[in-house]
Every structure is written in structure tokens, then in C-alpha cells.
Symmetry: none
Subunit: 177 residues, 2 copies
DNA sequence: TTCTAATCAGCAGTAAACAC
DNA sequence: GTGTTTACTGCTGATTAGAA
């Protein structure tokens, strides 16, 4: 008997509601992953590579074993799911919660998984772009959805003092001179 | 067949749930709220993604009425709690989960609340700095804890030009003690 | 009104499972 | 073995809404 999530501590959680998912009913099998997660963890690996003496970034992690291992294996997207996701991505790489919700319902994935998929997809595209640049390749060799997203990103970061408030010349005396 | 877990939701971000430690000395003043929240985000449309273009801004969120309203009112930090938080912040504005945990236990707040407090505190300081800059004020008019934090930020993002502001030795309380 | 507790969504970084 | 996907963590910035 699985007794799915018996109480446990409930764990709050924010991202996705999850619980009352109306549709998505496989009906049988599928051991529902218990939402119980304790992740109290916190620290991450250090960063700030330079500088022998950095202020205090994060000490190494505690256990770094996520609940995945404790609960179950990863689920990979099927061809159908992937097709839909990629189609939607080409239409809009950053869909709203609303749209993501609809997609999730369509392909029977959790909203959370859909959200993560889009995030990872964006990251992947960025990484690809970086590689392309480093290889000195033509931009033409970059897929169009990629170009679109990157262009969008560039546009956004360039507006106002949004991104680099502290780095702007003239604002801080120690800035770029 | 997709057959993936339905509810699951895996949640996560909540980070630390309502403190599974039952023996957290029940303070008379503060009732530690068990942060069990089931954020149900909404759906509602309102957006029109314009297909890839116009990244301008996100559509207004639906109602974003979260558990707060459903469960209970906001809890504000007491003077004692605030005193501790601010002291710790002056020592280190970005404490590790460990430290946060200790603080939370000390002042009888949830770890999540402590984390949020630090986040908001940093945001506040940044905002203040921005205002100061826009007003063209001197940096000297900025409180020191603020300068410290901002300098730290600048160092990290700029990684090369960081030196000037805190070039003077021993400005950082963090990490050194 | 301002201040602040709390949420949401995105990102970088990372880890582990999976594919090659 | 490396490389790719799924997933999670903490953080930021923006935003919402409750208290003062």
C-alpha cells in the first residue's frame, strides 16, 4: 500500500500547487511521488573562484542528495510531449503560468515539470549560443528560435539601469571610470 | 502512455517547511506559523504573448492571493527578533542555511521567514542605494552596512574593478570575524 | 502613505539519471 | 568515458498585499 503522502509534514511549498490536479489521471499504477521533502539543506558549493580570500560565499553542501533519489527515478519526456513542448517553445520560450498550465494539462505533465523544462531549454540555448560564439561560427548556423530568444534577452538587458546598476560609469566613483 | 505521477508537484522552493522541530520553545509573543501553503496559482489569461516578440513585461498576475489570506494574517517581527536579525545582518548579509537555521531557532521564527527577511533586507538596501545615487548624494551619506553589501555585490559582478571602494583593508566583517 | 512579509518567475549553478 | 536531460537549490527582481 502506498498510502500516498500521509501527512508527513506537509512541507509547504510554493512553486506548484500540485495537489488538486484535476486532470492528468493515469488511473492506475504510477506510484505518486510523495511530496514530502525536507530539503533543509541550503548551502551550495562555493563560487568566487578568484581571490584567495573571498568574503564568505558558501561552504560546501551538506548532502546534496535530493529527494529524487529517495523517491523515484527521473521521468523523461515522451516524443509526443517533446513535440508539444518544442512547438510551444518556438512560439514563445517564456510562457506564462497560464500557458504552461495549459500545456501541462495537454501533455499530462506536472506544471512544475513543464516549468523546469522551459528553464532548461532556455539555458541550453544560451549555452549553445556561447559555444557557437567561441567557435567563431556564423550566426546563421544558429537555429532561429535560438536567435530569437537571445535577441530578446539582449534587448531586455540593455534597457534602463536594470542589470548593471553598479557597473555603470558615472554612477559609482569606482566603476568604469 | 504518459503515466506520470499526477499530483506530485515536487514542490521545492519553499525550502524549509514549518520547522519539523516540535520543541521550539513556544514563545508567548510569536506564534510560529506552520507554513503549509498550497499556493494555487491561477490561470487567467491576460497575456497574449505576442509570439516571441515583445518581451516587454509580464502580464499582471491573476490575483496572487496566496495562503496568507486563506490561512491567517501576516506576522511581523517583534523587536527582539528584529534586533537579532539586524545584528546578524550587519555581521553577514548573506548567511548560510546553517546560520539561518540557528537564527531561526533563536528567535523562534521559521527558517523560511528568516530567509525571506534576509532577502528583503538586501533588496531594501539595494533600493536605498539606487535612490541615493539618483539623488546624486555622496556615498558617505549611505549607511555603512549598505556600503559594505553593495561593495561586495559590485566586487562579485565586476570581479575586477571591485577594489576601489573597499580598498582599505579590513572593511569586511564577513568571513573574517 | 510607507514599510515590509510573502509570493512568483527567471537565472546560474549544480547534481544525478540517462543516452551516446 | 563524455554529453545531454531532468530536477533542485539559492538568489534576484518584481510584485502583491498586510501593518503601521
Amino acid at each position: 500500500m502506498v498510502t500516498q503522502l500521509e501527512a508527513s509534514s506537509l512541507s509547504a511549498m510554493a512553486g506548484t500547487p500540485g495537489a488538486p490536479t484535476p486532470s492528468a489521471s493515469p488511473g492506475s499504477s504510477v506510484t505518486p511521488v510523495k511530496t514530502e521533502q525536507l530539503t533543509d539543506d541550503g548551502s551550495m558549493t562555493s563560487l568566487t573562484p578568484t581571490n584567495g580570500q573571498t568574503p564568505s560565499r558558501r561552504p560546501p553542501r551538506k548532502s546534496t542528495l535530493t529527494q529524487q533519489q529517495k523517491n523515484q527515478k527521473r521521468q523523461r519526456a515522451t516524443q509526443d510531449q517533446l513535440a508539444t513542448l518544442e512547438l510551444e517553445f518556438s512560439k514563445n520560450p517564456t510562457p506564462t503560468a497560464d500557458v504552461r498550465d495549459r500545456i501541462a494539462d495537454e501533455i499530462n505533465m506536472t506544471q512544475r515539470s513543464v516549468q523546469i523544462w522551459f528553464q532548461n531549454r532556455r539555458a541550453k540555448i544560451k549555452l549553445m549560443a556561447k559555444k557557437h560564439l567561441e567557435n567563431g561560427e556564423d550566426l546563421d548556423s544558429i537555429p532561429e528560435s535560438m536567435r530569437q530568444y537571445l535577441a530578446m534577452q539582449a534587448m531586455e538587458s540593455g534597457k534602463g539601469l536594470g542589470g548593471s546598476l553598479l557597473g555603470r560609469a558615472g554612477l559609482f566613483p569606482y566603476g568604469g571610470g
